[in-house]
C-alpha cells in the first residue's frame, strides 16, 4: 500500500514538459487550478481536461503511473464528492435520510467536484513527475524571492521542502521495513475494524518518529560539515533560465485564465 505513494517522485525524461523552467510549470499549474475553480460547465471542464491529457501525452508519462498516484487519495476524493451530493439544497429531491437530502443538482455538483479534484491532483502530479525536486524548490524560491524583503524565510522554506521530498522514499522504505517486522510478529494492518487498524499503526508510527529525529540530527551535522550556512552567498550549479517555450506557455496560461473567466461570465 505504501508503494503507491508517488509524491515527490521524478520520472526522468527529456520532453518539452521536462525542459520547461520550473517557474513556468509552477505558474501554469497555479493558473490551471484557479481555472478549475472558476469553471462551471462541461465546456470549460472539457477544455481543461483536454489540456491536461495533451500535457500528459507530451510528457510521455504513462497514464497508468499517473492514476496509480491517485490510489492512496481515493478515499479523500470520494469523501469530498459524496459530501457534495448532500450539501446542496436546490434541485429535485432524490432521497433523504436523517438530516441529509440528496438532490439531482447536488449529484451533478458532486460529479463536477470529483472531476475537479482529480484534475487538480493529476496536474500537480504532472509537475512533480517532470521536475526534479531540486529544480522545483529552486523555482519556488525564485518565485517567492520578493517575500524575502518582508523577512519571510523563503530560502529556509524551500530547503525544507527539498529535504522533505528527498526523504519521502527513505521514510517509506523504512515504514515498510518496520511494518514487515511487526507483521512477522503477528501484527495485522489490513483487516479488522477501523479502530483496530488505527491501533495497529501506533507501533509503526512511534519507531518511525524516533528514527526521523535521529536522521534529522545526523543530516544537520552532515550539512554543517559540508559548509551549509544558510542561503546567504549560496550559488547554484544549475541556474534556471527562461527559454522561448517558457514565454509561450506563460502567455498561454494568461490566455487560458481569461478564456475560462469569460466562459464563466456567459454561464458556459
Amino acid at each position: 500500500m505504501l508503494k503507491d505513494v508517488t509524491l515527490g517522485q521524478y520520472f526522468p525524461g527529456d520532453t518539452l514538459i521536462h525542459r520547461l523552467d520550473p517557474r513556468t510549470k509552477i505558474l501554469f499549474v497555479t493558473v490551471y487550478i484557479i481555472a478549475l475553480f472558476v469553471a462551471k460547465t462541461w465546456v470549460s471542464y472539457g477544455s481543461l481536461l483536454l489540456i491536461l491529457l495533451i500535457s500528459i501525452a507530451i510528457s510521455k508519462i504513462p497514464l497508468a503511473s499517473m492514476l496509480r498516484g491517485l490510489k492512496p487519495l481515493t478515499i479523500i476524493i470520494i469523501f469530498t464528492a459524496v459530501i457534495n451530493i448532500f450539501y446542496n439544497g436546490e434541485g429535485r429531491q432524490l432521497f433523504s435520510f436523517w438530516i441529509f437530502t440528496a438532490t439531482d443538482a447536488g449529484l451533478i455538483k458532486a460529479g463536477y467536484m470529483l472531476l475537479r479534484i482529480t484534475m487538480l491532483i493529476l496536474s500537480t502530479f504532472l509537475v512533480t513527475y517532470t521536475t526534479t525536486p531540486m529544480a522545483l524548490t529552486d523555482g519556488l524560491e525564485l518565485l517567492l524571492n520578493p517575500l524575502k524583503k518582508l523577512k519571510v524565510p523563503v530560502h529556509e522554506f524551500s530547503m525544507m521542502m527539498s529535504i522533505a521530498l528527498r526523504f519521502i522514499p527513505t521514510l517509506i522504505e523504512e515504514a515498510d521495513k518496520i511494518m514487515n517486522a511487526q507483521k512477522a510478529r503477528g501484527a495485522d494492518f489490513e483487516t479488522g475494524k477501523l479502530t483496530d487498524r488505527a491501533k495497529a499503526l501506533l507501533p509503526l508510527l512511534i519507531p518511525l518518529f524516533v528514527s526521523s529525529f535521529r536522521r534529522a540530527d545526523e543530516l544537520a551535522t552532515a550539512m554543517e560539515a559540508r559548509c551549509y550556512h544558510g542561503g546567504e552567498g549560496r550559488t547554484r550549479m544549475k541556474k534556471l533560465r527562461l527559454a522561448a517555450a517558457d514565454g509561450i506557455v506563460m502567455s498561454f496560461s494568461v490566455f487560458l485564465l481569461a478564456a475560462i473567466i469569460t466562459l464563466a461570465r456567459f454561464g458556459l
Binding site: 525536486p133 527539498s162 522514499p169 543530516l219 554543517e224 550549479m237
Partner: protein
C-alpha cells in the same frame, strides 16, 4: 614539519552527561599531511567525538585542535576549516541531501558560493574519481550502500578538501560495498595526496594505513605503524579490539611454539611467512 592536524590535551564532555567521565579526556595526537591514518577503539571510546573536532562541528572545552595552523575555535576560520577537512558519516542515507546524485555532489560547492560552471567541473571530476559518473542523473535512494557512500565521498571531494575524515563509513555495507569504499579512499590518498583519517571497527581496513591510533576512555593509548600495533595482540584484546585474521593466526601459531614475525598483515605475506617458517622448522 608542522603537522597538518594537531590535537592537544583535548577535553570534551557532552551536555547532560556531567556524572559520566568525559567523552574525550586529554586526547593528544598529530596527523601529517598526505598520510593515511586509522583510528581504532571500542564502542564509546570517543572516536566519533574526536572526529567531530577535526572540522569544528564540536569545539574543545579545553585543549586545542589546530588544522593547517588554524585554531578551530576561531570562528572566522570555520568555513575555511570545514572546506579543508571534509567528513563522511556512517549512514549514507542521512548525509545525502538531494534527490539526484549530481545535485547532491554540488551541495557543498554551492554552499561555498563557487560559480556555476566551476561547480559543474568539480562535480563531474569528483564523480569520476569515485567511479560514479554514469550514475550522475540517478536517484540516490535506488543505489546500493557502497554506491551511496561513494556519492557521499564525491560530495566531500567536490569541496577540494586536503583531508577527509570517515567515521565508520563501511559499518552498514556488505563486503562488496566495503571494498569499494576502502579502495576509493586508498586511491584518493595515494594518488591525489589527500590526507585520509579512517575510523573503523574492521581491523582488516586498518592494515593498509600508514599510522594507527588506538583510543580508550577518550585518550589515545597507543599509536604506531599497523605492523607494530597489531603485534601487541594481548594489549589490543585487553582494549576490547580484535586483530586482523592474519595476525590472529600468527598469534595462535606462536602460542603453540612457532616464532613468526607480526609484520605480515596481508593474506599472501602471512602465507609466505608461514611457509618459510615451516621450511626452516623441517630442516
Amino acid at each position: 614539519m608542522e603537522p597538518f592536524i594537531r590535537v592537544k590535551d583535548l577535553l570534551f564532555r557532552y551536555e547532560g552527561e556531567e556524572e559520566l567521565p568525559p567523552a574525550l579526556d586529554g586526547t593528544t595526537l598529530d596527523i601529517h599531511e598526505g598520510s593515511f591514518v586509522a583510528i581504532l577503539g571500542r564502542n564509546g571510546s570517543g572516536k566519533s567525538t574526536l572526529a567531530k573536532h577535526f572540522n569544528g562541528i564540536l569545539l574543545p572545552q579545553s585543549g586545542s585542535v589546530t588544522v593547517c595552523g588554524m585554531d578551530t575555535k576561531d570562528e572566522s576560520k570555520l568555513l575555511e576549516i570545514r572546506r579543508t577537512v571534509g567528513m563522511v558519516f556512517q549512514n549514507p542515507d542521512n548525509q545525502i541531501v538531494a534527490s539526484v546524485v549530481e545535485d547532491d555532489v554540488a551541495f557543498a560547492p554551492e554552499n561555498l558560493g563557487i560559480p556555476s560552471d566551476e561547480i559543474r567541473r568539480r562535480v563531474d571530476e569528483a564523480l569520476k574519481l569515485v567511479d560514479m559518473y554514469e550514475y550522475r542523473r540517478h536517484s540516490p535512494h535506488l543505489l546500493s550502500g557502497g554506491q551511496k557512500q561513494r556519492v557521499a565521498i564525491a560530495g566531500v571531494i567536490a569541496m577540494k578538501p586536503r583531508c577527509i575524515v570517515l567515521d565508520e563509513p563501511t559499518a552498514m555495507l556488505d563486503p562488496q560495498g566495503r571494498r569499494e569504499v576502502i579502495d576509493t579512499v586508498t586511491r584518493l590518498c595515494r594518488e591525489n595526496g589527500i590526507t585520509v583519517i579512517l575510523i573503523t571497527h574492521h581491523m582488516s581496513e586498518a592494515t593498509g594505513t600508514d599510522r594507527v591510533f588506538v583510543m580508550e576512555g577518550g585518550k589515545v593509548v597507543c599509536e604506531g605503524e599497523p605492523q607494530n600495533i597489531f603485534a601487541g595482540v594481548e594489549c589490543l584484546k585487553k582494549l576490547g579490539l580484535t586483530v586482523p585474521d592474519t595476525t590472529e593466526l600468527i598469534y595462535r601459531l606462536n602460542a603453540s611454539g612457532f616464532e613468526l614475525g607480526y609484520g605480515a598483515l596481508t593474506v599472501s605475506d602471512c602465507a609466505k611467512e608461514i611457509a618459510f617458517a615451516l621450511k626452516n622448522k623441517r630442516l
